[in-house]
């Protein structure tokens, strides 16, 4: 579904991302982990054609993302709060995204009603603008908006951050169902190793812009990741 080839991005001579090759098949739940500055958000931004690659290309369902806009109808994403329109209510925002994705109000109402648990009664019908919601609730609205219109690829940057434990567990279930039952390709990034190993079939570790581990998730994965990142911490301690 998503193929990355010889992709790199550099700012003023500093390379922040350099991926030789990375293929994500359809229906895979894919996790991206790495420390701050590893290049996770850069990769997602390249995938969404928000920044221009220095070299190489990403194809999404055979569409080269920086040459054609045809990937947009089947790809949806939530990167950060700047994806929200602050002066709309959550409902208006959902309807707006829905209209862009060819869904009518009834479709949206059906979809959002499925997420009543997830919203915990704090999003719908509150007569509040998105800018006035708490960070956590903004995130919930943004994530659900990314599910509108039956996308085939969903990209979520740090979806678990700022969410309460109950919502985190519910979100994990939602993401798993999407990949397993509906064949949606789900890409998430996270700092929380436990959450990614719970959700993703495959985990890629980025470090300073390079892919340094590509793991099939199994019972040992969490252990392995913990050892890897702890090793990094010890290593840097020793260096000091």
């Amino acid at each position: 579904m998503i193929h990355t080839k010889e992709l790199s991005k550099s700012y003023n001579g500093t390379t922040v991302l350099n991926v030789e090759e990375l293929s994500i098949p359809k229906g895979q739940s894919f996790g991206l982990v790495g420390n701050n500055g590893a290049g996770k958000t850069t990769y997602f931004s390249l995938l969404l054609d928000l920044i221009k690659p220095s070299t190489g290309r990403i194809t999404n369902n055979n569409v080269v993302v920086d040459q054609s806009e045809d990937w947009k109808p089947f790809t949806s994403s939530f990167i950060d709060e700047s994806f929200l329109i602050g002066y709309l209510t959550p409902e208006e925002y959902f309807y707006f995204i829905g209209e862009l994705r060819g869904q009518n109000k009834a479709d949206i109402d059906t979809l959002t009603s499925k997420f009543e648990d997830f919203f915990n009664g704090e999003i719908i019908g509150k007569k509040k603008y998105l800018r006035d919601l708490s960070k956590g609730n903004q995130k919930k609205a943004g994530i659900v908006a990314a599910l509108i219109g039956n996308p085939e690829v969903i990209i979520l940057d740090e979806p678990f951050a700022n969410l309460d434990p109950t919502t985190q567990i519910r979100l994990k279930q939602i993401l798993k169902d999407l990949a397993e039952k509906q064949g949606v390709t789900v890409l998430v990034s996270s700092h929380d190793l436990m959450h990614v190993t719970d959700v993703c079939e495959r985990i890629v570790v980025l470090e300073k812009g390079h892919v340094i581990k590509d793991l099939e998730t199994n019972l040992e994965t969490l252990k392995e990741l913990e050892v890897h990142f702890a090793g990094g911490a010890m290593g840097s301690q020793e260096e000091e």
């Binding site: 920044i51 109808p73 329109i85 002066y87 709309l88 208006e92 707006f96 862009l100 509040k128």
Partner: protein
């Protein structure tokens, strides 16, 4: 403590990206400031002569005092729009061991050294010197000078009280209108002759220095009241926390008839009504509409036909210019999302275009009463409207693709230069000067009818070529997509 505050302010000012990015605006502001200083100096040195000339039989000093009332009113109005309470970012200070009252005193004290308080000195001091030169007793004039400084400070603090009320009220100009209207009304209808009271008061202070305690007391009261309001606000849960507003939803289903651009039009209309900056811009449309009244009633403009075209362009295109020049920066807060969504750029731009065309039509219709000043004016407005629709709308959309500045929607519009770059100044030339010059030239060479025809034909040409022009504009936007995303995601 104060030393630390000043240090913080200094860094905040010179390290802000705003300062570093917009030298042009800073230079412009300095230029404005200097020209004001020059004006006030001129006023200070010349007013004694002028007063003596106009009121040869009266004491110039007493006459001057009787005019102070108008100054006070003018000063309040001007400050309301230009001067803001110099709030420092207090949030990080709240958890540090700094007394709240220290912070408040510092903020208020800082406001006293504002440019707006020094400006009157440039008039007051020369005027005092002239008076002493003219033979008035030096002790009396110096007392008067101090009284005037106190008046200036009273206005300073009074303004912040008005602004505090205006921040809370929905109609933000209302407190100002009430205060100024009340002061003026009381005097005008002779209910309370404030103007005379103020004049007499100042004269008697000058003659009787002990009375200076009265303005000192008033100043102390204003300061104390400001202190009270501000101290109350220094809690996270009051002013620092963003105010939650109840949603006002309007039925926008009528936009459906515009087909595929309907979602964007609804979004734009909500954008305009629900954000401070756009809302005050919409309010300013009234001024744009009434702009002609500054000129048309005066006989000296009655035969200056090129002015008709200028005012026509300005008043029918007021919304077009003010809204259009910040396309697409209005959407800068969520531009990334729009760019990753399933939208066509052309639809997005066409929605803005339709909105601008509608505004021109509405402004023209509302301006029809100008026909009272002559049918030529109406005709010129009509031609200007067509020109706005056909040419200016496309120019401004094209210019928008050069926008690289983010806009914070929650700030007021008047004298808010955020998001303004060199583009906004440059684009004014083809937008206003070009049609006016063209009109003036043809009007002078051939005649009024021909000039009108040229504007209309040019406008219609633009309408005919609309599809083609939009293609060029869309391409331009697509080409600068990455630059815009990058610029809009940076805080200014």
């Amino acid at each position: 403590m104060i030393k630390h505050f000043i240090n913080l302010e200094w860094k905040q000012y010179f390290r802000s990206s705003y300062w570093q990015k917009s030298m042009v605006i800073n230079i412009l502001m300095v230029f404005f400031a200097l020209s004001f200083v020059a004006m006030f100096l001129g006023l200070g040195f010349s007013s004694l002569f002028i007063l003596k000339k106009i009121f040869p039989n009266q004491d110039a000093f007493v006459v001057a005092n009787s005019f102070i009332f108008f100054w006070v009113i003018g000063d309040i109005v001007m400050r309301f729009f230009l001067q803001k309470l110099p709030v420092m970012s207090v949030k990080p200070l709240l958890i540090l061991p700094v007394k709240r009252s220290t912070v408040v005193n510092y903020v208020l004290g800082k406001s006293a050294v504002s440019f707006f308080n020094f400006l009157p000195l440039f008039a007051i001091i020369p005027f005092s010197i002239m008076l002493i030169n003219d033979g008035y007793a030096a002790s009396m004039i110096i007392t008067w000078m101090f009284a005037m400084i106190l008046v200036v400070l009273i206005i300073n603090f009074l303004n912040f009280i008005i602004e505090a009320f205006s921040a809370e009220s929905e109609l933000s100009f209302l407190p100002l209108i009430i205060v100024v209207g009340a002061l003026f009304g009381l005097d005008f209808f002779n209910i309370l002759p404030i103007r005379a009271l103020l004049g007499d008061g100042l004269t008697s202070i000058a003659n009787n220095p002990i009375l200076i305690l009265v303005p000192i007391a008033i100043l102390a009261m204003c300061y104390w009241y400001n202190f009270k309001i501000l101290k109350q606000k220094l809690f996270l849960d009051s002013s620092l926390k963003t105010k939650v507003t109840e949603v006002n939803a309007a039925d926008l289903s009528w936009t459906k008839r515009f087909g595929d651009i309907a979602p964007f039009m609804q979004l734009d209309l909500k954008l305009i009504w629900r954000n401070k900056r756009t809302k005050s811009m919409a309010m300013l449309m009234v001024i744009g509409l009434l702009y002609g009244l500054f000129f048309y009633p005066q006989p000296m403009y009655a035969d200056k036909e090129f002015m008709f075209a200028f005012i026509g362009i300005f008043s029918t295109g007021f919304f077009l210019i003010n809204f259009g020049q910040f396309i697409p920066a209005w959407d800068s807060g969520y531009y990334k999302m729009l760019m990753s969504q399933n939208i066509k750029y052309e639809q997005y731009l066409r929605s803005k275009f339709v909105l601008m065309v509608m505004s021109v039509a509405i402004m023209f219709i509302l301006g029809i009463p100008y026909v009272y000043f002559g049918w030529k004016i109406l005709l010129a407005h009509f031609a200007a409207g067509i020109y706005n629709i056909g040419i200016n709308s496309h120019i401004i959309l094209y210019g928008g693709s050069f926008n690289r500045k983010k806009i914070d929607l929650d700030k007021k519009a008047a004298f808010n230069y955020q998001g303004t770059g060199a583009v906004q100044w440059l684009i004014g030339i083809p937008l206003m000067i070009l049609p006016m010059g063209l009109f003036a030239l043809i009007n002078w060479l051939v005649g009024f009818g021909a000039a009108i025809t040229v504007l209309i034909v040019l406008g219609l040409l633009g309408v005919v070529l609309h599809k083609k022009l939009m293609k060029i504009i869309t391409k331009r936007y697509l080409d600068s997509k990455y630059k815009m995303i990058d610029a809009f995601s940076q805080d200014s």
